[in-house]
């Protein structure tokens, strides 16, 4: 879910060679095989498509010395009284080509604010798909994995009601895609449709810190989702296990803690003294989307075998009702850490400051005790554009989503966030 960074030792970001390779292979497949299909005469023959999506959003809030972020992978947030366009704005383009023998290939790039502050486009999808009869689908390459219930990507604002995905529920997710693959099986049962999916792969998670540094960690994910769809109802249960390396700086930290001889510090050292950490997450939810009514209720929890991973419970409820082109909606989301931040027990002396600071910081990056009540309205300008206005009232007791620069930083804070956005697809 995240990586470990000791004070003063941020890891530099790097460009993933695996990502470059997947991009080149995908582009080769699209350009060499898809382009030949431009003159397709029959719909069973190959097709080539260029599609895109984007959001232009303005965000502000009312609490001084606090920056509001959409997720923990953003380097800058919106400040009080200033209009910030970088938080929710993004642009994505997708190229796809249908190939012979039930294959197709998709390449998708997205530009948005990254953990190091740049907007370099990121390859979010690049895969080859084989679907012999729609009961069975296999994808290999860079694929997205199921995060959403009603909208299956958190980057396509046009596909969901609110201006942004719930920060409580999705703000801690540090990547949307994996290099690997997935396998989907579908079957009609009892008047409805059962859809099961297994996925596995490796992904790069990005984290941005308040001091302007950022880090990138490699994670291995294995997971499964099981959906049942009937009429307007969708029920889902999803599970994922994330494994990530402890990092080269951990042995030094562990040795330092043990050298103090204090049992409390040694206990934390034992917790951290692993080469690989694991986090396990479960999400269960039900959604209704039929006619003008759209609603969803989600519950999720995460457990970790180390203090470096998340341990929290989350709930999200959202409902919207369309009235012609207007869709007013309300939502409430809450997340709560199950354990307080553990401390070394070492005195607050300069000689122990690096150890004390490192241990607190390791845990702070996944803190998520907060709740938000949301009200907003979506107006569909056309079948390709929407306009949204949204107000969020957030109470944060202990969260890594905010950059908190108040004199009493870390104490509970309330803020009201105002958002106006335009989403589009083409």
């Amino acid at each position: 879910m995240k990586c470990l960074v000791i004070e003063g030792l941020p890891r530099p970001r790097r460009v993933s060679p695996r990502g470059k390779m997947i991009f080149r292979i995908s582009m080769f497949l699209v350009l060499s095989m898809g382009a030949a299909s431009l003159c397709a005469q029959d719909f069973r023959e190959d097709r080539f498509a260029v599609r895109g999506f984007g959001t232009i959003a303005a965000v502000t809030h009312d609490t001084d010395d606090v920056e509001f972020r959409r997720n923990t992978g953003q380097s800058d947030g919106a400040g009080a009284g200033e209009v910030e366009f970088a938080s929710d704005s993004l642009l994505g383009v997708q190229l796809s080509a249908k190939l012979p023998a039930d294959f197709d290939v998709v390449v998708q790039g997205v530009t948005h604010q990254r953990a190091d502050g740049d907007w370099v486009p990121q390859l979010t999808q690049g895969y080859l798909r084989w679907s012999p009869d729609d009961s069975f689908v296999v994808r290999a390459g860079r694929v997205g994995y199921d995060i959403y219930l009603l909208a299956e990507s958190r980057q396509v604002g046009y596909s969901y009601l609110s201006a942004r995905p719930s920060p409580e529920f999705y703000g801690q997710i540090s990547n949307d895609d994996i290099d690997g693959g997935d396998l989907t099986y579908k079957r009609r049962i009892g008047g409805g449709l059962v859809r099961a999916r297994l996925f596995a792969g490796a992904g790069d998670g990005e984290l941005a810190f308040e001091d302007g540094t950022s880090s990138e960690s490699q994670q291995r994910l294995v997971g499964a989702t099981l959906d049942y769809l009937r009429g307007g109802w969708t029920a889902r249960i999803a599970m994922v296990q994330i494994s990530y390396d402890a990092g080269n700086d951990i042995p030094l930290l562990v040795a330092g803690l043990r050298a103090t001889g204090l049992p409390q510090a040694a206990s934390i050292a034992n917790d951290l003294d692993e080469r690989v950490y694991h986090s396990f997450g479960v999400q269960a939810g039900v959604a209704y989307d039929d006619g003008p009514l759209q609603a969803q209720l989600l519950y999720g929890f995460a457990n970790s075998d180390s203090i470096s991973g998340p341990d929290f419970n989350k709930v999200l409820a959202e409902v919207g009702y369309r009235l012609d082109r207007w869709t007013p909606f309300v939502a409430f989301a809450t997340s709560r850490d199950r354990n307080p931040i553990r401390t070394t027990g070492l005195p607050d002396l300069p000689m122990f400051a690096p150890l004390n600071g490192a241990i607190v910081r390791i845990q702070e990056v996944t803190r998520s005790t907060q709740h938000t009540a949301t009200a907003g309205v979506r107006y569909d300008l056309s079948s390709h554009f929407d306009f949204k206005l949204q107000v969020d009232r957030m109470h944060a007791a202990d969260t890594s989503l905010l950059f908190d620069r108040r004199p009493d930083a870390g104490s509970p804070v309330d803020l009201t966030v105002f958002t106006a956005s335009v989403d589009f697809v083409f």
């Binding site: 069973r44 009961s135 009429g231 929407d386």
Partner: protein, 144 residues
Amino acid sequence: MKRLVAILMLALALPVARADDAPAGIVVIVNPASGVERLTRSEVIDIFLGRYRKLPTGQLALPIDVAEGGPERAQFYQQLVKKSPAEMSSYWARLVFSGQTSPPFQVPDVKTALQLVESNPNAIAYVDRAAVNPKVKVVLEIRP
């Protein structure tokens, strides 16, 4: 009194006359060689919303959409799933950009949709009942 009865009869007849003038309604059609006799509303929803594109015979279903802006398309989705064109566009944005599936193949008009269904046993489309010809088979009538 006779005049009042005549007015009442005229008033009662008027809606009937309007119904006679209205479009015959949207129907779902397949190729007669597909072997499909009937489809349920749920099966049609699964096929056109990209959830499960298989015909009851086990064959792959290839759904066809008439171009956006045409009355058939708006009426079809409004009656099938009570969704406006904007909501359907939003729905497809969910699936397309998460790499799940593609929207139905789009043709410019009903005439082209009919031609594709007539020539392909896997094709499935929707048309106004008045456009149905002997070379296609109606498998479901969409009612609001």
